[in-house]
């Protein structure tokens, strides 16, 4: 079959590959400035890194963030706590269910409100599903960054199954907005926990298959082992959290160390790395998915009955719709919560949840009423990225791609 394409002559290719002769006696090179991003495939969103290069070695790296700044903290000061739930979806938009939960728990701490066990269980299951979904994306994208396309196709297949379950539960695949202050938007549908359980069962062998594609992969190891090493001290000094901190050997997992939402009932291990290189961070994420499956299966095995929202919190959680439509008192209650927001006492709380990317913190200053005076969001990706100027220096440009992939950040949460 005749080809329509013409290939360049062999001689032409040789000519292109030959470097121009260096002037005699001049081997010192000029430093070059290179801007990576804001729309580079490996910067996963809109991050720009202003680099100074000596040959191919990075001598200075200055990340430029803020391209995705939407003023979430200002917006939060101008709306009620429940109205802010959809905005939390858009922080770490790869794990909206985990963000929803972190926000809800922070506000509930303000009111010293305990949600019933069933609600806690639902939140744990959804947060762990979100963790699997986020790590799958992180892994797939990391694979692409270092030249392993196949992984991405496998992980997205699994994410699709998770999205179907999210859709069934929340009505949305991506921006779930599932929690309300004092509960969740609705109870789980009939048979849903069984389908989550079935997903977990079929997911474990596929996860092994996915990890086998990378763990002993020569190319993957060459690109990641001993690359982007973050020491234990540096990880702590720069405020890294989540898998990035654990990859450097610090066993801090807020689910274990400061349990919330009933995490103390579940058995799971906290994987830590030994060297703190890109490979360790990958291994930690892989193992975390196995542990998440463990947690989900335990939570489903002892999934409690009972109410799925705080029934006694009459000024915080709106009553069921059928009661609103038939009873005067509940109608008023619903009207007050919708117009004035869930009523909170004055005070300050700071709550951090162990999200897929790290510790997502909410610092809320309330002066009473349904609107926060100040709502500060501590985005884990923001802190995780602040280590870049330190870790990129001395690395090759191609290592920077590996480092970015292994830090697994998301700009929605970094720029807020």
């Amino acid at each position: 079959m005749a080809s329509e394409y013409s290939f360049p002559e062999a001689g032409a290719r040789v000519a292109r590959a030959t470097a121009p002769e260096a002037p005699k006696g001049e081997f010192e090179t000029e430093k070059m400035s290179l801007s990576m991003g804001p729309s580079h495939p490996s910067t996963h969103g809109v991050l720009r890194i202003q680099m100074e290069l000596d040959g191919e070695t990075v001598t200075r790296a200055d990340p430029v963030v803020g391209y995705l700044h939407r003023g979430d903290e200002k917006i939060a000061e101008n709306m009620t706590y429940n109205q802010f739930v959809p905005y939390t979806d858009r922080l770490d938009y790869l794990a909206p269910l985990a963000n929803n939960m972190a926000h809800a728990i922070a506000v509930e701490r303000l009111a010293k409100l305990d949600v019933p066990p069933r609600c806690q269980s639902i939140r744990v299951i959804t947060a762990e599903m979100a963790r699997i979904s986020a790590h799958l994306l992180g892994l797939g994208a990391f694979g692409i960054d270092v030249g392993a396309w196949t992984v991405f196709l496998y992980t997205f297949n699994e994410r699709e199954k998770l999205y179907k379950l999210f859709e069934e539960l929340t009505g949305a695949r991506f921006t779930t907005s599932y929690t309300r202050i004092g509960g969740v938007a609705r109870d789980v549908p009939e048979g849903w926990t069984g389908r989550v359980d079935a997903f977990c069962d079929q997911f474990l062998p596929i996860l092994e298959e996915i990890l086998n594609l990378l763990t002993r992969n020569k190319i993957f190891m060459d690109r990641t082992v001993d690359v982007g090493v973050i020491s234990r001290q540096d990880a702590i000094a720069y405020g890294l959290t989540g898998p990035n901190l654990r990859g450097s050997g610090v066993a801090l997992d807020l689910r274990k160390d400061r349990p919330y939402s009933g995490y103390e009932q579940y058995e799971f291990d906290v994987p830590v790395g030994t060297k703190g290189d890109c490979y360790d961070r990958y291994l930690v994420r892989g193992e975390e998915m196995r542990q998440s499956v463990r947690i989900i299966k335990q939570a489903i095995a002892k999934f409690p009955d009972g109410p799925w929202y705080a029934t006694e919190a009459k000024r915080i959680f709106a009553p069921p719709k059928d009661r609103i439509l038939t009873s005067m008192e509940e109608l008023i209650q619903n009207f007050m919560i919708v117009t004035e927001g869930p009523q909170m006492p004055a005070g300050e709380v700071y709550f951090e949840a162990e999200n897929p990317k790290g510790a997502l913190g909410f610092y809320i200053i309330s002066r009473g009423g349904g609107v926060p005076w100040r709502l500060r969001i501590r985005g884990p990706s923001f802190c995780n990225l602040s280590v870049l100027p330190k870790v990129c220096v001395g690395a090759l440009v191609s290592d920077v791609v590996s480092i970015l992939g292994s830090l697994d950040f998301v700009m929605g949460e970094c720029d807020r």
């Binding site: 963030v65 803020g66 700044h69 003023g71 903290e73 200002k74 917006i75 000061e77 101008n78 709306m79 009620t80 109205q83 701490r109 303000l110 010293k112 702590i236 000094a237 720069y238 405020g239 890294l240 959290t241 610090v250 801090l252 807020l254 160390d257 400061r258 117009t339 004035e340 927001g341 006492p345 005070g347 300050e348 709380v349 700071y350 709550f351 951090e352 510790a359 913190g361 610092y363 200053i365 309330s366 002066r367 009473g368 009423g369 349904g370 609107v371 926060p372 005076w373 100040r374 500060r376 501590r378 923001f382 802190c383 990225l385 602040s386 280590v387 330190k390 720029d415 807020r416």
Partner: protein, 207 residues
């Protein structure tokens, strides 16, 4: 749940001007600007609070003095306990506190953000620039007098602005924001059409 009770007691004995702060969860301290750096160093070195979890600021209100406060949340990894340190900036016009970057390099970006959003300066910060907004941006968006819709500002790139004739204009609020005021809720105040942001795309913004 909390740091050992003696952390606060020891610090209060060592720094007489440090006071306990009301808090709904973690132990909290009010620290004067002059003692801030020493208190933070003592917390890090003598009390295990090795991770600077969060650093931010808040505006207590346009008419309140001291107006700007900087808040530190430290985490002791070994015993998984938090402590909150709050410092009130002495000056309302040019708020300034010492930088925590010598203790935690991770404070660098947090302090840049607090400067960007509130205009709080950090003495001794190696590179105090805006981080989320562009360098030439003239306002401090999280201050309470800054309207939700935003304020006119030139675009970051003068060339693009001249070519396109566009500006960073305030957002059309279309009647919003539909919210209650945080305190003294009353419908006249919370009714959006009674507010300054009542202008829309069709109706000019009042000066």
């Amino acid at each position: 749940m909390s740091a050992p009770a003696d952390t606060l007691a020891v610090l209060k004995a060592r720094f007489p001007r440090v006071a306990e702060r009301a808090s709904l969860d973690h132990p909290a301290l009010d620290v004067p600007t002059t003692d801030l750096f020493a208190v933070l160093r003592a917390l890090r070195d003598d009390h295990d609070f090795d991770l600077l979890s969060d650093l931010t600021a808040f505006d207590a209100g346009v008419d309140v003095s001291p107006r700007f406060h900087v808040v530190y949340h430290l985490l002791a990894i070994r015993r998984a306990a938090y402590v909150r340190v709050v410092v009130a900036c002495e000056s309302n016009d040019s708020p300034e506190v010492p930088s925590a970057v010598p203790l935690w390099p991770g404070a660098n970006w947090h302090e840049r953000e607090a400067f960007d959003m509130f205009g709080v300066r950090f003495a001794g910060h190696p590179d105090l620039r805006r981080i989320l907004m562009w360098d030439e941006y003239p306002h401090f968006p999280l201050r309470k007098e800054f309207p939700l819709a935003g304020i006119d500002a030139p675009l970051p790139d003068a060339e693009v602005a001249a070519e396109s004739g566009s500006r960073a204009a305030p957002a059309p609020m279309a009647g919003g924001p539909f919210v209650a005021t945080p305190v003294d809720f009353n419908l006249t105040e919370s009714e959006p059409r009674a507010k300054d942001e009542s202008w829309t795309e069709k109706k000019e913004k009042p000066d």
